[in-house]
Point group: C2
Chain length 710, copies 2
């Protein structure tokens, strides 16, 4: 991303109106109001003068090659101006105009033209359909709308200008911001790489509707999130929302659970809405550390303290248990009838011994306690603190916070004057005030998660592709392609074996005698399954018989199965049957992979049988994954308990199961021609895991997409 | 609840400090500041004068029988003063003092003394451990703390004073309020009955830690919630929170899911936290109707509109589809390249045709559309509306809202000056402003739910107990009690049959020959189960054999089962076996009931097998239930899909299943000696439902509680 976008020394404002002032929405007014110190060149074919500056008739007339051109002409005029900029050597161009890929067919074509105009020229483009950039460090903004420029060490990358214009509200202020708009050229990834490495920025905020290259995003975000928190508001979550997103910025929103998995893997913290975004920003701008998850609550109301303890349970923090020393110190001032503990209700003690004195003692004592990692102070704002300075405890709270910069001291303040007291409390930047215990605890929990989870997680993508016999896999897939087949059934088990994933052996048979020979080779009991490229759900058509215990049974089963299947699926080509050893026991799980347009191969794991669908108890990750991610995938399903010794069942070998997921991830990552893959079921037992049935769908010869098989 | 509590003409303030002014927390200061117009009598043994009023040495010295006494002496002095009040004929007493059931053993005893002091006297008590009452209609409050008295037509009943003191923040103001504190005498139910019937009150707010009599609460709440919304913040949700609640007000928090079920049944709307409470109050104070669930979004940002559509999906509203007429009217002003639809992004049109003109057209056109039930306007507050009145669209919005008082016009406003613009918008009381699309949509969704669900639901509890042969049930239970048994196994099936719940027949057998005779009577195949009062999980000890197809098999099974069970459970008394017909097929579900200390018999329903526990896929209701509630119980589990024709399975007879739940609810409601009951499994098939196994635990002879069996 050329420097010209965020730190230009000169700007051309192309297509600015000749009118200025209120309600005209002229960029020049905002650039001047922001205090930009570089050179400004308004451009309009009519020429003349604007806000005391000469107006140039075209970019070519400007006496220097500007660092940045900002275009806001009607859409049909844009491509020619971009070409002119590129020819002149302007490296950074912002297209504010709407009506491109966000609009009709003509708009899509115009956006294509823009891309062609800069292709190979070294000129780069932000937009179209953007309000451009904000850099409050250097007094730059290209917005055409007046907004509150509240500086803060945060950066925002968005697909809608409101996230820059409303930054004082959404992110507690802003330092750098880019509205990538339709992201025709410069996209999320390039912007994230640029803003993410700016050492002044302490929190990165993303407003995302869609992503063109999800895998590259993950690489960059993984690096950036180790340095500073990356928060993301992903919209277009719902189906209706995704449709709306597509017409807003031409983004493909994709499946929400895939984004969720990707964010988890690369350390991006998802925020639910703009309120959460605001409070998470406040949190990360105020606090840098939190030693553990043990929260102390100091309250002026027992009832309020209970609400805070409830929230701890919801968000994974723990109510701290005070040390004996802390309890003794508090007991010395608490009334005799009152039990000392966490939450510490200081009201009765404060009434008899002076509120501020007890408050100071409680805050200092509790923050000194090594068994406490953070403190939530619950305090009222019933009346105007400006009218009665006695009610302002901000000095006391800030003094206590300053003694322990490593432990967050947060506040929940309530009452009519909540905002006034909040401003006083937060003025020194040492404490953060929240409007509910829920907000406070959720915010501290995300701080803990960041400091202890994301910040120290490995920054590199798992690169190991060991254990995959790529040559053998390639041969099996190539053989299917040669036959013109895009679906592999039994051979999928051979592919698995070539990846080190245990799979049941199978032997094909084309008549009863062959079936009996195969069965005898394996030893009884055996399973018989119909072999047909057209039949996916074999048991639905009578194509599976389990627990066959002898030769006669096998022979009868063969005749019966072929008869039944032919009757039910007369069009299917049937290649006889396959025989497998019968292995009862173990828990049936499903492993699979599907190709996402943005993120590529996505792994899915869940309980087998009808329950996966019924309870949607599945987990997702972008492939490849690490061993730890494989274990997470297993642990985050509810059916995990079933595998870990539920109600007296023998626990399954989870390491073996995780290894299967890990290897499946490697396989689909290195074999891009695998479009979709299912191991269904894989039996997870106490002595290991084994794939029983599998299916692979590959792209056909020509590389064209074939229609989905399911 | 005597009138003296909320509309006293005279108040005794017993135990007030002789000091007044800031930081003394003297009730008399607040009573006077509030503008109370009745007679005030401070009481303190020292006598003298306070704020110009003579101080009486005791309640007996006061020259009249006051309507209300407010006591704030040290705790040990309280019982004697309460006795004095009762003797004097004071009908309403508030005990502010802490340190009773909220504290140590001595405190519990003191609270008992308070109760005895008023018992049978006609004197009633609010508290102890309370800040008392608020009645802003009559300028009364008994708080000892200064707070903002913002009037609003809401009432609050709480167990923590902060909900009255912080009402300007939590509930957008207040009209009436009672802090029931420890609720030693006057409790939630009596207060709810009193405040709920006040016609001035439009929203009732509850802060609840626990409930002594849940069934009575439901009766009252069911009545009140048909007249006005009842919102409840239930704290002590988590286990740790429940422990904290018990030491705060001596409440037993009970199991959270039971409260959840009870609230659903009696129309109480649960709020997650104080922020949600605030916005739900704002919603109900602003809007009275919402014709349907179709939401239109008018936005100045496409990206923001997408977030609103996402929220619709989350909270069960629908994005409206505009009529052709609406689309045409909007298309006439929108730029040609822009598709017209919902959300309607009016920014491009506003830029070219004037923002306010387009805004007015859009609001009026869309609110006129019969396919739209509510409108969310998304609007910025980037700069100070006081500095630039052009940015204030509140007049336009309010004009549009006034034209359609039946359809909510809500706003999401963002930017640094959100609060300033919000105040202007809301001044006329016609529109509500929210800080995020999530808040706005969640609030409109709860309005819809109230108007269309709760408001019109039947107000009476289901009283029908038809179809239960109470005499027969009584005989079976009495027989067990006579034998000294508290657990019924096979006989539980007889109890079910007596309630009209189909149950598999069974025949006991005490030897192999008897088993064969019984099997022959039913016809093969049959099931054999061990009969022993000590064995609950029969299959775990080899006590169940299914699908026995002939006499030899039955005889062998009998010998084998008795041998195996005796080996595994040598202490168990074995009464032979029972034989039942074997009925394969159908889905196994569990129906049960358990007695809750506050709500009495609670029904539970869920999928059978290990999945109930694994996925916690169960629903609860307080018994008895209506037919509609029975169907809701089935529908709100995820396993519902399994019963309704999942993946080609035949759908189960849901009416028959609901009927079983309904009748089970009647049974446990009329037979209070049933402590716990399980039908596990009940087979739900396409042709009806039938109980296969059941167990009942009853109270023993003496009426004492026996330890739990599980």
């Amino acid at each position: 991303m050329p420097d010209g976008f965020l730190t230009p020394r000169s700007i051309a404002l192309v297509g600015v109106s000749t009118r200025t002032g209120p309600a005209v929405f002229n960029v020049i007014d905002q650039v001047l109001a922001g205090g930009f110190t570089g050179r400004i060149y308004p451009v309009n074919p009519r020429g003349g003068e604007l806000r005391g500056l000469p107006v140039y008739r075209s970019v070519s007339e400007i006496p220097e090659v500007v660092d940045l051109a900002v275009i806001s002409t009607p859409r049909t005029a844009v491509p020619e101006i971009v070409r002119e900029c590129a020819a002149r050597g302007v490296k950074a161009v912002i297209v504010i105009t709407q009506g491109f890929a966000d609009a009709d067919e003509a708009g899509h074509r115009l956006q294509e033209e823009l891309l062609q105009a800069v292709s190979g020229t070294g000129t780069r483009l932000v937009g179209p359909n953007t309000i451009g950039v904000v850099n409050l460090y250097d007094h730059l903004n290209t917005s055409f709308i007046e907004f509150t420029r509240q500086p803060a060490d945060t950066a925002t990358i968005c697909q809608s200008g409101i996230f820059l214009l409303g930054s004082a509200d959404f992110t507690c202020g802003i330092g750098l911001g880019v509205d990538i708009g339709n992201a025709a050229d410069i996209d999320f990834n390039q912007t994230l790489a640029a803003l993410g490495t700016d050492s002044r920025i302490r929190v990165l905020n993303l407003h995302m509707e869609g992503l063109a290259d999800g895998r590259r995003f993950m690489e960059i975000a993984r690096q950036v999130s180790r340095e500073k928190p990356v928060l993301c508001l992903k919209t277009g979550r719902s189906e209706a929302g995704a449709r709306a997103a597509s017409s807003h910025s031409g983004s493909l929103a994709g499946e929400d659970h895939v984004f969720g998995a990707a964010f988890k893997q690369c350390g991006v913290i998802r925020v639910r809405d703009v309120e959460e975004m605001r409070y998470f920003n406040k949190t990360f701008l105020t606090y840098r550390s939190m030693p553990g998850r043990r929260l102390a609550v100091v309250t002026i109301s027992g009832g309020a303290g209970i609400a805070a303890v409830d929230a701890c349970g919801d968000y994974g923090l723990e109510a701290a248990r005070f040390s004996a020393q802390t309890n003794d110190k508090l007991a010395a001032v608490f009334p005799g009838w009152m039990e000392v503990g966490n939450p510490a209700d200081i009201w009765p003690a404060g009434m008899s011994r002076g509120y501020r004195e007890v408050l100071e003692l409680a805050l200092d004592t509790i923050l000194d306690d090594p068994q406490v990692d953070a403190l939530l102070m619950i305090s009222p704002a019933y009346v105007d603190p400006d009218a009665d300075p006695r009610l302002d405890i901000s000095a006391h709270v800030n003094r206590a916070a300053a003694r322990h910069p490593d432990k967050p001291l947060a506040l929940w303040i309530f009452g009519a004057y909540r905002r006034e007291l909040t401003a006083r409390m937060e003025a020194a930047g040492r404490v953060a005030v929240y409007p509910s215990p829920d907000r406070a605890v959720a915010s501290l929990a995300v701080l803990y998660r960041y400091v202890h989870g994301i910040k120290n997680a490995p920054a590199a993508l798992p690169a190991d592709t060991g254990g995959i016999n790529r040559e053998l896999v390639g041969q099996i897939l190539a053989a299917a392609r040669r036959d013109g087949r895009t679906t592999l059934n039994e051979e999928a088990l051979d592919v698995l074996r070539a990846c080190g994933i245990p799979a049941l052996p199978y032997t094909p048979a084309i008549d009863g005698a062959g079936a009996v020979r195969a069965a005898a080779d394996f030893g009884y009991p055996v399973v018989m399954k119909i072999a047909s490229p057209q039949i996916s759900h074999k048991s639905d058509v009578g194509g599976v018989k389990v627990n066959l215990t002898g030769a006669a049974e096998v022979r009868a089963a063969y005749d019966d199965m072929l008869h039944t299947v032919k009757e039910r699926m007369p069009q299917a080509r049937i290649n006889g049957v396959i025989i497998q050893p019968y292995r009862p026991g173990g828990t049936e799980v499903i492993l699979g992979s599907k190709r996402d347009p943005s993120f590529g191969p996505v792994l899915v794991y869940g309980l087998g049988g009808i329950y996966t669908e019924l309870f949607r108890d599945v987990s997702f990750r972008i492939a490849p994954i690490t061993g730890e991610e494989a274990r997470e995938m297993i642990r985050e399903t509810k059916s995990y308990r079933l595998l870990s010794g539920f109600r007296g069942r023998p626990p399954a070998d989870l390491d073996a199961l995780a290894e299967c997921l890990l290897r499946l991830g490697r396989l689909v990552a290195v074999q891009p021609q695998i479009r979709e893959m299912d191991i269904n079921p894989l039996l997870a037992g106490p002595d290991g895991a084994v794939a029983v049935d599998a299916r692979i769908t590959i792209d056909n010869h020509t590389g064209e997409e074939t229609p989905e098989q399911k």
